[in-house]
Amino acid sequence: MNVHDLLDASSAHVVGFDWLARAVAPVSPYGERVFEALRPFGPGEESAAQARCDAIARCEAAMPPDRLDAIRGLLADLPDVVGALARASMGDALDDAALLELRRFCATIERIESLTAEYPERPVIFNDAIAAVGVALAPAGRDASAFYLADAFDAKLAAARALLGREQAELDAARGRESALAARALGRETIESDEFIVMRADLRGSLPAGVRAIREAPTYVLCALEYGEATLAALARRDAAATAVAEAEARVRARLSALVRERAARLDAAARGLGELDVLVAAGRYAQRYACVAPSLDAGGVLAFEGARFLPLEDELAAAGRQFVPLDLELRDAAVLTGPNMGGKSVLLQTCGFLALACALGLPVPAERARCALFDRIAWLGLGRDASIGGLLSSFAREVVELKAILERAAPRLLILVDEFARTTTPHEGKALSIALLERLRERRAVGMLATHLSGIAAAAGVRHFAVRGLRGIPHRPAVSEVAQALAALAEAMDYTIEEVGPDARPRADAIALTELLGLDGDFVAAAHRALSQ
């Protein structure tokens, strides 16, 4: 899945693209090829994106989780027949391993066909070629996960093998008689290797008939058996019979390969259909697992959701026994977001990016309801980006370079998520730069959210102001000073609700209370309070 045109690598990382790509990844090589070719939908493609979201939602509604898991299990075990199809198309006779792969391919498609019978919108996979090849390979045995070029493929094959069996038995008997004679003459029970050692001390006279010396030493002779005329004649007959079997087997393989060659295009079409189903089922299972809904895709510039979740964090919290608090927002243009430290400002920005990304990929979103535009660029600026640009630049200079790149790129519909822009310069100038950025976004009719601790920015820029409600009260410091417990107490006390406030509303920080909760000593905290009151 290539999203480079939609967002850069660093922004992709912050808004959870890697996580999302893993969550909706197909399991078969067929699905991987389709998945690789997927591109995000852009502005103007709302109908197509909506159709894909709705199809995934119908898929997950039509098929229960265990059915989707069963289909994914079958797909995961499938060998890739594309190489075999290509070789057959070019006239190669397929070997038995390739014929086994084709047999499993056809049998699996038949099983998937029955598992998806109740889902009428499934991609077309089963076709006459699958049926024909499946039938043609059926004589290979009852178990479709095995393959033998059995006698049932060709009556002449059976006859040739029967003859070879007889000739081999005669050869074995002749060779066995001669080997037993030689062993007896040497006073041994048996000869167990092609070359063998006879100790001179054990040898009475010369080597017996049928035994020749390969190498002689003072105490031993290295020997080999020499076969007599009867064995050599049996060997010639066996070789002729083996050749007849080889020719008969080659004829059967050539016939089966020709059948595959004639139907290669239809088999290829089935392989493509299988890939589409794999991608669809993966997305459907993701939607089930994370309770996702199809968003309403909007041609206007809006990003609105109720009960939305940022799934990478939700997963992380679940592992720690905690829950994600779902978020509501309606964002139509540029806006400011303020709130206390650890109040979830960054997570709201990430949730915006995650949902916008999922919509662009035509995927259901983790929310109770969502309405979203398709953006041609999703950009993240500020905290959270990695330092991939300009190792010699200061963090402020790096931000400026990144902002320049975002603003210079032609993106008629831009979603920009800004986390504490210009936080590393003076608050006075940081505020001025933030206001200028919001004014530029407003001019460009971009949709964006700028999270900050600075006050007065929304009013000065003439944009809406959202705020996290913040702490309901200052939580008590846990008896045992562990960060995990402090975080749990903080989460309990924090009201993560986002609400629109007046442009002049002063942002909350609660920073000193948080330092105490997180374990800084009382003297330090008291000194901070004194300094604040002066």
């Binding site: 060998p79 070997d95 038995d96 391993a97 390739a98 086994l100 045995g141 996960s145 095995a146 393959f147 033998y148 070029l149 093998r161 070879l164 069996g165 081999q168 041994r188 029970e189 048996t190 000869i191 167990e192 290797s193 070359e195 063998f196 050692i197 006879v198 100790m199 190498r215 030493a217 105490t219 031993y220 290295l222 083996a242 079997v245 080889a246 087997e249 080659a250 393989r253």
Partner: protein
């Protein structure tokens, strides 16, 4: 005397369902020993699975420097090979595909339907070895592996047996060959650790440097590795260090026999003398498949 039958008996007497044949080097008669054991099993009607695990210097796989010798296999034998190494004729039944890939293609499990020559190809990783041993065990009663010393960990703690092959091709003198096989057997036969005695448990391998440090510190506690393949001390100095330390393992291996190949292209040893020296040095039943003799 039927050497294959005797070695098979020794392994079965220890309850072994898997036999690894490993060697001190190349051309030391591993494949000959394996053929003899396999022939004995086939003669008794034991459903046998065969696999090969070649490594550089220890017999190579398809795609390596030298091809493995092909084996004449009887109907109903199962074996592991690569898709690219399976002969077109006589056709074998492919009974399963492995997850492992070799340079000659995906590994697969095949069953012989018509007797013929077949090539064994093995997996490149330790986890692959475990997979194919388990896979063959599911298909038959006995698994014989043309093995590599550093891959016998797949047998550790299980009901497997090891046969060690040594030969004139792998050493300049008989004394060197005997020393080498004695050192290898001593390493593979490291005893299980005593849970009630003081011990240092190593997570990784016991190296030359670590062994030297333990000797210098006059370490008296048990030094415990996961299994004998985790002892990677080399040479005679390493052997001396091991003799001074109490090295033990959590998952022991069982060595049941040694085989000798006294004649090589570049040199040869007196067959009986060689077999008797190996038997004395290893304290194992020692067989010369070529001479049809046992020294013990």
């Amino acid at each position: 005397m039927q050497i294959g039958s005797e070695i098979l008996e020794l392994a079965r007497a220890r309850g072994a369902a898997t036999i690894f044949v490993v060697g001190i080097g190349r051309d030391v008669g591993k494949t000959t020993a394996l053929r003899a054991i396999y022939a004995a099993a086939a003669a008794r009607g034991v459903r046998t699975g065969l696999a090969s695990i070649g490594r550089d210097g220890d017999g190579s796989q398809a795609g390596g420097a030298r091809p493995k010798p092909r084996l004449w296999l009887a109907p109903q034998t199962t074996f592991v090979t690569a898709a690219g190494a399976l002969p077109r004729t006589p056709a074998a039944e492919i009974v399963g595909l492995s997850a492992s890939i070799s340079p000659a293609g995906r590994l697969l499990y095949a069953r012989v339907r018509m007797p013929g020559y077949y090539e064994l190809v093995g997996p490149p990783t330790a986890s692959g070895v475990r997979e194919i041993v388990d896979g063959l065990r599911a298909l038959g009663e006995l698994v014989i592996v043309d093995g590599a010393v550093d891959r016998v960990a797949a047998l550790a703690g299980s009901n497997g047996a090891i046969v060690v092959s040594c030969g004139a091709a792998a050493a300049g003198t008989m004394a060197e060959a005997v020393d080498d096989v004695a050192a290898l057997v001593a390493r593979l036969c490291v005893a299980p650790f005593d849970p009630d005695a003081p011990a240092i448990h190593l997570e990784g391998a016991l190296t030359d440097a670590q062994a030297a440090a333990f000797v210098a510190a006059d370490e008296r506690r048990q030094i415990v590795v996961r299994d004998p393949t985790q002892i990677v001390v080399r040479g005679r100095a390493g052997s001396r260090a091991l003799a001074l330390l109490t090295v033990r393992c959590r998952r022991p291996l069982t060595v049941v026999a040694a085989t000798v190949a006294s004649i090589a292209a570049e040199r040869s040893f007196e067959p009986r003398e060689f077999a008797e020296a190996v038997a004395r040095a290893t304290n194992l039943p020692t067989f010369d498949v070529y001479a049809g003799t046992r020294a013990a």
